[in-house]
């Protein structure tokens, strides 16, 4: 319980720091939302009027404190442009980003775990080096390049999957999932390599432990020793990295969502930045900070599930 309180306190500090920074940073950007609302032909007076109307003519710090006050009371504000409540805008787009993240991480794990195990088991041999080379090639391709290549090959040449047709879940699971395969793969192609490498490194260490020798001395088959004895204690670093990746992806992937026209949080953010729609940017940033801290909190809890020693420490402390 005390542990949870400590976490919440840290979350508050993080959110405060992050929001203050973005607020200041976004205000440094040239131009503001008033120009966007007024349109290209508007006179300077009209723009000024809109600005005064939105309260943008007041000093930054006052606006920040005001926003923070509303936020603490649960009011995330409304978009300057569309008048849509910010919280609602985020919540309606979040499932798309979440699904993209989940599918991408599932792909990444499907690649990382078997290859990581294989590379560790045959460390230093040809198989290990081949996997490492393939991994670094995969990692060096930027995700937008991977996305374009995947569209080119899988969609256009082979015609297996649509290029960009987002369907909500109400249209059926497959129709919905289909749109996520290529974008998720484009993300997974760089994520899996890091997961694979840390799993390999940890597994090599674990395989030299006495308890692995003991498991082998019981006459257990190699796959049983690796999967039942070695994998769990070797997966801590991988899970930490996985948590960080999930934290980064949960706020949406701006590039991938843009390329594949997925209506996720990432696209909401980038559009809001283009339009200088500060209050939406602010909302999304807070949301991402929350998600990040929450995911890492869950990862910490997961350690305890994996390692009984941490469980005891927690209950003692």
């Amino acid at each position: 319980m005390r542990y949870v309180l400590k976490r919440v306190r840290r979350l508050i500090v993080v959110v405060f720091a992050v929001t203050l920074f973005t607020f200041l940073l976004v205000n440094v950007l040239p131009g503001d939302v008033a120009y966007d609302i007024a349109g290209q032909d508007a006179s300077e007076e009209e723009v000024q009027a809109i600005r005064a109307d939105l309260g943008l003519d007041r000093p930054v710090m006052i606006r920040y404190v005001e926003w923070l006050g509303d936020f603490v009371q649960g009011d995330w504000g409304r978009s300057f442009r569309t008048d849509e409540p910010v919280a609602e805008a985020i919540w309606s787009r979040f499932p798309v980003s979440l699904e993209l993240m989940v599918v991408a991480q599932v792909f990444a794990l499907i690649l990382a775990v078997p290859f990581g195990i294989f590379a560790a088991y045959r460390a230093g041999r040809t198989v290990d080096r081949t996997i490492a080379t393939a991994g670094f090639m995969s990692l060096s391709i930027p995700s937008f390049m991977a996305a374009i290549l995947l569209i080119l090959v899988v969609s256009l040449n082979l015609g297996w999957l649509p290029t960009s047709e987002y369907e909500p879940l109400s249209e059926g699971l497959w129709a919905n999932l289909r749109a996520f395969i290529l974008p998720a793969l484009a993300i997974a192609l760089s994520e899996w390599v890091v997961l694979m490498r840390v799993l390999r490194a940890d597994l090599i260490g674990v395989l030299q432990q006495d308890y692995i020798s003991l498991a082998r001395a019981k006459g257990l088959p190699v796959w049983h020793v690796i999967l039942r004895h070695a994998l769990k204690p070797a997966s801590f670093s991988m899970i930490t990295i996985l948590g960080l990746q999930i934290g980064t992806l949960i706020g949406g992937s701006i590039i991938i969502e843009s390329i594949f026209a997925l209506p996720g949080v990432g696209r909401l953010l980038i559009n809001a930045i283009y339009a200088r729609d500060f209050i939406v940017v602010q909302g999304v940033v807070v949301f991402i900070a929350f998600a990040y801290v929450l995911v890492n909190f869950i990862v910490d809890l997961l350690y305890a599930v994996l390692d009984p020693r941490i469980r005891t420490e927690r209950s003692d402390g």
Binding site: Y211, S213, A217, K218, G219, P221, P308
Partner: protein, 340 residues
């Protein structure tokens, strides 16, 4: 007597290192009759543990067992079996206990499961039955509240208790041969005797054959039928425990005996230790490997490897020394020394 349970002939284990070939075990031969206990004694780095791992088939990939080595267990040469046949022997054939119970138990697996998973694999025991057997075994090795402990994790037990769990694990598949690799070295002195007594009792009750590896000749006395003393990868003296202690021939064995603290010596007396270090096993000395540290060295010791010789009174007591102790003369020597 029937054919021996375990017979090693000319067993070597070499490691490939960047500096060259390390001869960790070099031409070891011995036989072990069923039901007997062999004490394998030597300093750190003498090759005891590597030999245990060689018998157990737990060598790392950079180890090599040269041609001409043979380990015959129950009539089968362990070195020529395929992996599956070899695995079938680990557990029901040969069990092993490791030195440090802090690292030899899986920290993230329940104790019960670690005890019964070997049975599940070899005999297809059900999970429920395995758990019951695990509780029985934990009771047998002297763990209090076994029905609670069975669902706990290793970190919830003390070192001595963990070593008892490790013994239960090794006993689970009822091995014919048990290799205990320094089972008490990592433990508190206060629990060492308890663990050794437990091993001795299990060995006797089950009619098991046992190899007890230790660096402490004191552990061997009274617990082993035979003793083999290892130095620099080879066996330098072997015989029945009685003969080896009563008629110590090899200078190295005597040096080991002298280094045991004794209650009949004056308090605060400086312990005798063996000067120098064990030789480099990449380029071992041409002659006797103990020669550089031996106080009775002759010129011949540096150039020629001493052959294995038998004791005049007991042919099974063998040693490799050019200039062995005369046990009868030594007796008087010690007596005279004490009187002075």
């Amino acid at each position: 007597m029937a054919a021996p349970l375990l017979e090693l002939s000319n067993v070597s284990t070499h490691f490939h290192s960047p500096a060259g070939r390390v001869r960790a075990v070099d031409g070891v031969s011995f036989t072990l009759e069923a039901g007997q206990t062999l004490g394998l004694v030597g300093e750190s780095g003498s090759g005891k543990s590597v030999l245990a791992r060689t018998i157990m088939g737990l060598l790392p990939s950079y180890a090599e067992i040269p041609e001409g080595s043979a380990i015959s267990f129950n009539g089968q040469n362990l070195l020529t079996l395929d992996r599956k046949e070899r695995r079938a022997i680990s557990g029901p054939g040969i069990g092993m206990i490791f030195q440090d119970p802090m690292t030899s138990l899986n920290p993230v697996m329940k104790i019960g499961q670690q005890v019964y998973e070997g049975m599940r694999h070899h005999f297809g025991t059900s999970r429920k039955e395995g758990r019951e057997r695990a509780v029985e075994l934990l009771t047998e090795v002297g763990i209090p509240q076994p029905d609670v402990r069975v669902d706990q994790y290793p970190h919830q037990l003390s070192g001595g208790m963990r070593q008892r769990v490790a013994i239960a694990i090794a006993l689970a598949c009822e091995p014919k041969l048990l290799i205990a690799d320094e089972p008490t070295t990592a433990l508190d002195v206060t629990v060492q005797a308890g663990i050794l007594d437990l091993l001795q009792r299990e060995q006797r009750d089950r009619g098991m054959t046992m190899i007890l590896i230790t660096h402490d000749l004191g552990v061997v006395a009274g617990r082993c039928d035979n003793v083999a003393v290892m130095y620099a990868g080879g066996i330098v003296e072997t015989g029945t425990t009685r003969s080896l202690f009563a008629r110590t021939r090899m200078r190295y064995t005597q040096a080991l005996l002298d280094s045991i603290p004794r209650l009949d010596r004056p308090p605060h007396e400086r312990l005798k230790s063996i000067g120098g270090r064990p030789p480099n096993l990449i380029n071992p000395p041409a002659g006797c490997r103990f020669a550089p540290r031996c106080s009775h060295r002759l010129a011949q010791c540096d150039t020629d490897m001493p052959p294995i010789t038998s004791d005049e009174q007991d042919a099974s007591h063998r040693f490799a020394c050019w200039h062995p102790r005369d046990p009868d003369a030594a007796m008087q020597e010690t007596a005279g020394g004490d009187a002075a």
